[in-house]
């Protein structure tokens, strides 16, 4: 087991992290960006480390991003998906993890539909645990890559006005962003129908906008959340059509904004529901930069948790951690 001097053993969420820890990850990601731009996209920093990507929920982008990050650091990786594994035969989460650990692994990247699953696992196994999304709780690496992308674009995070738009109630991306942004000094707001706002959200120090026009008027950055199509089936909104008409981020609405506004989306997008294609593909959008940064941020997290020292990250591109 490796316990990072700077991050501890696990990365389960941003709520309990310090601003310094968050900045450290962002700063460590910087030198790793360049690795992905090389013809040979590989450094030996995690050579000999074994990492299991344990995905109890479908994921394309996050799983692939983690896998690229691991491979570009030269770790050995195994992907375990819930279907077709012993999980579908009724094995408990903790038994699955203990069995993997008995094969002598170093890290587990877990995605799970239950909030708290990553923390649960982290308390029960010696390997480092990285949360790749747990229920409606947190998705820390997504928020970290969002922070890095905002910082790249605006040169700072403190003082910026960032609004999370859409299904905040069910969104782990929203929660992690909220903690990360407020810790780094941004002003945070949320906007969406009241049916998709969690109770007590105002008490977390965020503004709540009931209308997208007000949010656009206020914000420097809009992070538009995915609207899960099942929300309509469960009765949180009457129709996708109306959602687009009332809350959709459209060029017409952006044109009325006083200032230049940056548009983000954690993906996958529902074009024509929460976001208009002309916005997603337009000049305000930094959506693909988010995806690119995802690999660098995840490399930084893996490297730091494995005991790598931030000041050596640059050197790590040539040699192993210490």
């Amino acid at each position: 087991m490796t316990v990072s001097a700077t991050l501890g053993k696990d990365l389960t969420g941003l709520e309990h992290m310090t601003p310094e820890q968050i900045r450290l990850i962002l700063d460590t990601a910087e030198p790793f960006k360049e690795v992905s731009e090389r013809p040979i996209k590989k450094v030996p920093a995690l050579r000999g480390k074994t990492i299991v990507n344990l995905f109890f929920e479908a994921s394309t982008r996050t799983r692939i991003s983690f896998e690229f990050a691991e491979k570009r650091l030269s770790a050995d990786t195994v992907n375990v998906a819930a279907s077709g594994s012993s999980v579908s035969k009724g094995e408990t989460l903790v038994d699955t993890a203990r069995n993997l650990e008995a094969m002598r692994i170093d890290m587990v990247v877990i995605r799970h539909p239950s909030s708290g699953a990553a923390e649960f696992l982290g308390h029960r196994i010696a390997s480092n645990v990285i949360n790749a999304g747990d229920g409606k709780h947190e998705h820390p690496t997504q928020a970290l890559l969002d922070l890095l992308t905002i910082r790249d674009k605006h040169g700072k995070i403190a003082g910026l006005k960032v609004c999370l738009v859409g299904d905040v109630l069910h969104s782990r991306v929203a929660r992690s962003n909220l903690w990360g942004l407020t810790k780094l000094g941004a002003e945070v707001a949320v906007c969406g129908p009241w049916t998709l706002m969690p109770r007590g959200i105002e008490e977390l120090g965020v503004k709540v906008f009931g209308r997208i026009e007000e949010a656009i008027e206020w914000a420097d950055v809009l992070n538009v959340l995915r609207l899960q199509l099942e929300r309509m089936e469960k009765g949180f909104i009457p129709s996708l059509r109306e959602y687009y008409r009332v809350f959709g981020v459209t060029p017409e609405r952006l044109d009325r904004a006083k200032r230049d506004i940056t548009i983000m989306h954690p993906g996958p997008m529902n074009r024509g529901v929460e976001i208009d294609s002309r916005v997603a593909d337009g000049p305000h959008s930094i959506i693909l930069d988010q995806v690119t940064n995802g690999v660098a941020v995840r490399m930084a997290v893996l490297y730091l948790l494995a005991g790598g020292r931030a000041e050596l990250a640059d050197a790590a591109k040539r040699g192993g951690p210490e």
């Binding site: 408990t92 989460l93 909030s115 708290g116 747990d134 229920g135 929660r175 109770r199």
Partner: protein, 427 residues
């Protein structure tokens, strides 16, 4: 003829007669013979010096789950009755959500026989309101009462249909039993796992709003008024419910209510770190709810404390919060948690507490006990209210260990429990 028992030199608290004084208690043939100073020792009597200790009518718990039949690995009638005796309880009422459901006279009779066989705390069966607790057809209240049922309830589930609740309240009048309801609007509570509020928002867990309880409390009160039946409201958790019950009692509606030790002492912050031992239904709520529940218990708006003892196997609670079952055990900690938090904490007096854990619950379900009056059943508990101990679940007599109070330092402990004139627990 059983051997007489003389409890000598103790301090007797009997809220049924407003007694709070030094006195001996003499018991014979399963009855209280007399309570007074300097009682003589009859021939062959078992004499226990209880100097420095408090002698009370045995505690009565209107709400426990014993898992027999169906899940005997988690609890049986005997193990539950043993845990009860160790906690100072002389009578407990077993909810019918067993497997199969206790919804007929044979099933009720089985609980009574298992209780007699154990010979520990009395276990009074509660029959189901509806067959299979399915919320459709009334179970046979009359036959179940004949077999020993003291109330009916579909606890674990609410009685969703207002029509069924109405007929249950009306039909129960014939047999003079209460209908105990788990007050929860299932459409509002659906798939919630904790109180809906700031903590659930932070943890990303689906909340159960207080309104899910309050709506059903209000409905039940209105139906009790309509029918003249007696509704007993299980495990109240929300301050809004307290306000509704207060108004109902002022209007003379036949309503009684209970609250658990954990709802009197813990808030939703206990769910931090996804501690599944803080997962119960109704959920732990906010500090303002705890304050309102304490106030209501003190002034009698809520009649009594009930444990909602809900044993679960270790494996079941060793899971992600969403996947763990609701419920905690409570029989062996109920008195000490309440004593430590409420009496030592200066909110209640010891007579207040005994009233709420013995006299009033016995009265609510019309059970023998809850009093030390001469001629009453000799169900007696002796407490060392100076005893300090810390909760070690591995020492529980219950077969399950799922307590939110593990490791907690508590004051007050039952040192002697007597049921029907026989000693069933002694430290």
């Amino acid at each position: 003829m059983t051997q007489p028992i003389l409890l000598q030199g103790g301090h007797v608290i009997d809220p049924s007669r407003d007694m709070d004084q030094a006195a001996d208690v003499l018991i014979q043939d399963g009855k209280i013979v007399s309570v007074g100073r300097g009682l003589g020792t009859p021939d062959g009597a078992i004499v226990r010096s209880v100097k420095g200790k408090v002698v009370t009518p045995g505690l009565v718990d209107l709400h426990v789950h014993l898992r027999e039949p169906g899940n005997e690995d988690e609890e049986t009638v005997a193990s539950g009755a043993r845990a009860a005796a160790a906690g100072g309880f002389t009578a407990i009422c077993a909810m019918p959500n067993t497997d199969p459901v206790t919804d007929n006279q044979a099933a009720v009779g089985f609980i009574v026989r298992q209780s007699d066989r154990a010979g520990l705390a009395r276990v009074h069966p509660i029959g189901a309101v509806s067959i299979g607790q399915k919320g459709e057809r009334l179970a046979e209240f009359g036959e179940m009462v004949s077999a020993g049922a003291v109330a009916v309830s579909d606890d674990g589930r609410p009685v969703v249909s207002s029509h069924l609740m109405r007929t249950a309240l009306e039909y129960a009048r014939t047999f003079n039993i209460p209908v105990a309801d788990h007050c929860e609007d299932p459409t509002l509570a659906a798939s919630g796992v904790m109180h809906e509020g700031l903590v659930s928002t932070r943890l990303g867990l689906k909340g159960i709003p207080a309104a899910a309880e309050e709506i059903m409390v209000a409905r039940n009160v209105l139906l009790a008024e309509l029918t003249g039946g007696h509704v007993h409201l299980c495990h109240m958790s929300a301050r809004g419910s307290v306000a509704i019950i207060r108004e109902a009692k002022e209007r003379g509606i036949r309503v009684t209510a209970e609250v658990t030790p954990h709802h009197l002492t813990l808030t939703d912050y206990a769910c931090e770190e996804y501690d599944t031992h803080a997962k119960m239904n109704p959920p732990l709520r906010e500090a303002a709810d705890v304050a309102a529940l304490r106030g209501a218990l003190k002034d009698g708006v809520i009649d009594c404390i009930a444990s909602d003892h809900a044993p679960h196997a270790y494996d079941e609670k060793e899971a992600a919060f969403d996947d763990a079952p609701f419920g905690v055990v409570g029989l062996e900690t109920a008195f000490a948690v309440a004593y430590t938090e409420l009496v030592v904490g200066g909110v209640f007096t010891m007579p207040d507490l005994v009233r709420r854990m013995s006299t009033e619950p016995a009265r609510a379900f019309r059970l023998a006990g809850g009093t030390l009056a001469a001629g009453a059943v000799a169900d007696v508990a002796v407490f060392d209210t100076a005893a300090k101990w810390s909760v070690d679940p591995t020492t529980f007599h219950s077969k399950s260990r799922n307590t939110p109070f593990a490791g907690r330092a508590l004051t007050g402990r039952a040192t002697l429990t007597i049921v029907a004139g026989a000693i069933v627990h002694e430290l």
